[in-house]
């Protein structure tokens, strides 16, 4: 059959994609996985790297800081994005379009330029800081602290959360609220029994993406603190391209810890959404 012949040829055409994906995505990960078990400058096999990381206060702090900033900024981003997404969902026309376009741009406005913009606004000599000083509020604010990082992370989390939550909100149908209303449920009961449960998979999924996004990002913090703030990604980067001391094997072990955390939350998300209960299929 010609179709089967074509099918075999098609399989061949997949080769370039598979090869590139393997070379640039799978192989590096495999390399990291394998080499994370090589210690003593790559001379010995074993779990020494992991042991070293878990016993080191410094690396434990890096993991803790990464988790802390990711969780706080994801929660803050989510809490601020929810009402915004809801209002946006309720609006229509040009204003909605404009807000979406700007959210899209700001979601891409992260990393080095964002760090610079924040320094100009809120850095030690930032113009907003000068203004706040004159008004005698906000003393002791430090952009280069954990709080400063949470603030700047939240900034790029909010538009992302809005863009991710909006489709879920569009899935909430007016008739559900009307039907609930006719059956005697007020606004509160509607949100408690229908609105929130229907949105829940979307909220959880968005939260996971925000969290993973914050865990994996590096540019913003790196540009802001010049690699001085102790984060997991910054530690990895310093171990492979720093000036002082290079240890790609230790970097690999740190990387595997990061990948493990990210895979864990991704799987948790899959697992939470899987049961039919939370699956809101909208016809």
């Amino acid at each position: 059959m010609a179709f089967y012949k074509a099918k075999r040829a098609a399989l061949l055409l997949l080769a370039p994609f598979i090869l590139t994906f393997f070379l640039f995505q799978v192989l590096p990960l495999l390399w990291v996985l394998v080499n994370s078990f090589k210690s003593n400058m790559g001379e010995e096999w074993g779990v020494d790297n992991y042991q070293f990381i878990l016993e080191s206060r410094y690396f434990r702090q890096a993991i803790y800081n990464s988790l802390k900033i990711s969780i706080y900024s994801s929660i803050a981003g989510m809490l601020l994005a929810l009402p915004c997404a809801w209002s946006l969902h309720r609006l229509s026309g040009r204003l909605k379009e404009a807000t979406l376009t700007i959210s899209n741009m700001i979601a891409n406005f992260s990393g080095v330029p964002l760090a610079f913009a924040f320094v100009i606004l809120l850095g030690a000599n930032g113009c907003l800081i000068a203004l706040l000083d004159q008004l005698n509020i906000g003393h002791g604010f430090n952009l280069y602290s954990a709080f400063g990082l949470i603030l700047i992370y939240s900034y790029f989390q909010i538009p992302l959360a809005i863009l991710l939550m909006l489709p879920a909100m569009e899935g909430l149908r007016d008739e559900w609220q009307e039907a609930a209303c006719l059956l005697g449920a007020g606004k509160f009961r509607y949100w408690l029994n229908i609105g929130l449960p229907v949105l829940m998979p979307g909220i959880l999924g968005t939260f996971i993406i925000l969290f993973a996004n914050a865990m994996g990002t590096m540019a913003t913090a790196f540009a802001l603190t010049g690699g001085n703030y102790n984060l997991l990604t910054i530690r990895i980067s310093n171990l492979i391209s720093g000036d002082i001391f290079l240890d790609p094997w230790l970097a690999s072990a740190l990387s595997m810890i990061l990948v493990f955390i990210l895979m864990l939350v991704t799987l948790a998300n899959e697992w939470l959404i899987k049961p039919g209960r939370l699956r809101a299929k909208v016809k």
Partner: protein, 260 residues
């Protein structure tokens, strides 16, 4: 219930927009001010930072480098992803869940982790790609892959590929020909939107560019990072110029979306 632009929702959005625009507006203002020591407003307005910027060879080179490498990576992504998506959807639909899984990998493996491996794999005696823009093409392919595959796959799912190809075959077209004359034109809008959005995404990439290539082939992000010792007004002008590129891309994507 009719949707009305009620005051409450309107004010939420306006407050939100104002806060989100604040860093941008601050940077814009800073980039056109002579100096800004204290107070609400800068001391004077000037375009001198832009004048300096637009004749600086290193900046123009960095912009050029960024655009070249992003375009290259996007072309590579398209060449690899479009046929793959078509083959998966038309010949091997049972591979769809597998594809959906593997495009999640870039999310679970952040650039800094991939860099650890890439740096070792591509800097040996046989192939030395590190320090050259070529390695960025491959690395950026993995960054753009999830978004472009999603966009293309969603588009294909709406096409009813099987019937379309059957009809084309009955009318005498080969699969190869049908792909170019029927499938591709139908994907055009989705492709263009994903191209513009991926472009903004890639031009904002810093980690790969900094670790794998560094100053030997400076992208605009790396350039900006290396300029941190220069005047804040000057780097503000870089930030604003960079943002204008993102804005242009987003608006272009929006325009293509509307055409549909």
């Amino acid at each position: 219930m009719r949707r009305s632009n009620s005051i409450g929702h309107l004010s939420v959005i306006i407050v939100f927009m104002s806060i989100m625009m604040l860093p941008l507006l601050g940077t814009l203002l800073y980039s056109i001010s002579t100096s800004w020591s204290s107070g609400m407003l800068p001391d004077g307005v000037t375009f001198k930072w832009y004048k300096i910027l637009f004749v600086e060879h290193r900046f123009l080179q960095a912009m050029m480098n960024s655009i070249m490498v992003c375009l290259g990576a996007l072309i590579l992504t398209l060449i690899l992803v479009v046929p793959t998506a078509f083959i998966v959807f038309y010949y091997f639909p049972f591979l769809k869940p597998f594809m959906n899984f593997i495009i999640l990998l870039p999310f679970a493996v952040p650039p800094v982790v991939s860099s650890v491996g890439l740096l070792q794999i591509f800097s040996n005696d046989v192939i030395t790609l590190t320090g050259t823009p070529w390695i960025l093409l491959g690395a950026y392919f993995t960054v753009a892959l999830p978004f472009s595959y999603r966009a293309i796959a969603n588009n294909m799912a709406n096409l009813n590929l099987q019937d379309m190809l059957d009809a084309a075959h009955l009318l005498g077209a080969s699969t190869f020909r049908a792909f170019f004359t029927i499938v591709l034109p139908n994907l055009k809008t989705g492709l263009m939107i994903s191209l513009f959005l991926s472009f903004s995404l890639l031009i904002g990439e810093f980690v790969f560019a900094n670790i794998l290539v560094g100053t030997r082939f400076e992208t605009v992000q790396v350039y900006l990072f290396n300029m941190k010792a220069r005047s804040g007004h000057f780097s503000s002008a870089v930030v604003v110029s960079y943002f204008l590129v993102i804005m242009l891309m987003t608006i272009l994507a929006g325009q293509w979306g509307k055409k549909q």
